[in-house]
Symmetry: C2
Subunit: 197 residues, 2 copies
């Protein structure tokens, strides 16, 4: 019976082929000085890369204007927006810094690295030194070591950044939709403790 | 006045230091055959790496049992769970395949690569060939080329995977919480069209 059930289940599977993986993508802006001016590019192919030392990774199409600036200064920032900054964030993905000067879109500041612009009005900004660039085809991956994490007291609960306060948002790339996050639903590294396979 | 306002804004900024970036992380299971048995590891440091050809990247601590299997077979899978599979997903992050046989946690299947186990009950499974491994310190990044994307008709709307149906979830690593996604809030590559900086 189990085999029959499994065969029935398998018949439902369809293969969409070699595609962009349909997972929920975090929306960030990548900040860099390009030709001496602050520039911000919307990106969603972003992840932590390692814990010790903390490094992040962002995959950018090789055609982007931003890439030149990251190479030039060996620094970049990861600016994590709130839902309330969605329009400005989306805008930075619609226009290229090679055609439009995006240095006026946001009030911005520099941290200790001096060349990675960060957005004053965003709840979180992460300042990075370029560690390496990995060529993957149409996109290259910039891996950067985290130097600083700028936020404000009002975004913290018990000393850590609280998504209920920072209100980050998510891209569904396949159907081109932005989603907010729900309130917390379960504890991580805990919800599965009593799970019996 | 503008300078005074900006100085006031900047005084609110605090630097949390070199930390894990507080962004919303997608929760996936990485499937691999290790020592001839299917194994599944919970991971959240995951992103698309490139579009052409489509490749994904996942950063795993070097100590993980799964890493051996990916190296051995040069294949792995990315299994994207629904909110309803949260307990089983969390469980796979609490126990190591080196101590517990996780091949019985899920019904699973193999695709064309034959050695990347995928979870029958999950809405989306992505089958990958290992492209390269990038050493970043405590973690190594496995970059894999997407071969297939398995789903079911019931998870699609107009031919693409619909998060309202697959119900993926998000990890907030700092405060160890899982979040669901809201309904779509705005259109991507569209919401910023009328934005005036």
């Amino acid at each position: 019976m189990a085999v029959v059930k499994m065969k029935r289940e398998m018949r439902k599977k369809i293969d969409l082929g070699a595609k962009i993986a349909p997972y929920p993508m975090p929306v960030v802006l990548i900040g860099a000085n390009v030709n001496g001016k602050a520039n911000f590019l919307t990106a969603a192919w972003f992840t932590m890369a390692t814990y010790n030392p903390p490094k992040v990774a962002v995959a950018l199409n090789k055609a982007h204007y931003t890439n030149q600036g990251i190479r030039e200064n060996k620094t970049f920032s990861v600016c994590i927006p709130s839902m309330g900054m969605l329009e400005a964030t989306d805008y930075c993905g619609l226009v290229s810094g090679s055609k439009v000067d995006k240095s006026g879109v946001f009030d911005f500041f520099y941290g200790k690295l001096k060349t990675a612009p960060m957005i004053t009005g965003f709840p979180v900004n992460v300042e990075c030194i370029l560690d390496k660039v990995v060529d993957n085809g149409s996109h290259e991956m910039f891996i950067g070591e985290v130097m600083s994490t700028y936020t404000e007291e009002k975004y913290l609960t018990d000393g850590v950044v609280d998504f209920k306060k920072t209100k980050p948002f998510i891209l569904s790339m396949n159907d081109r939709q932005y989603h907010a996050l729900s309130k917390p639903k379960a504890r991580a590294w805990s919800a599965g403790k009593n799970y019996k396979p």
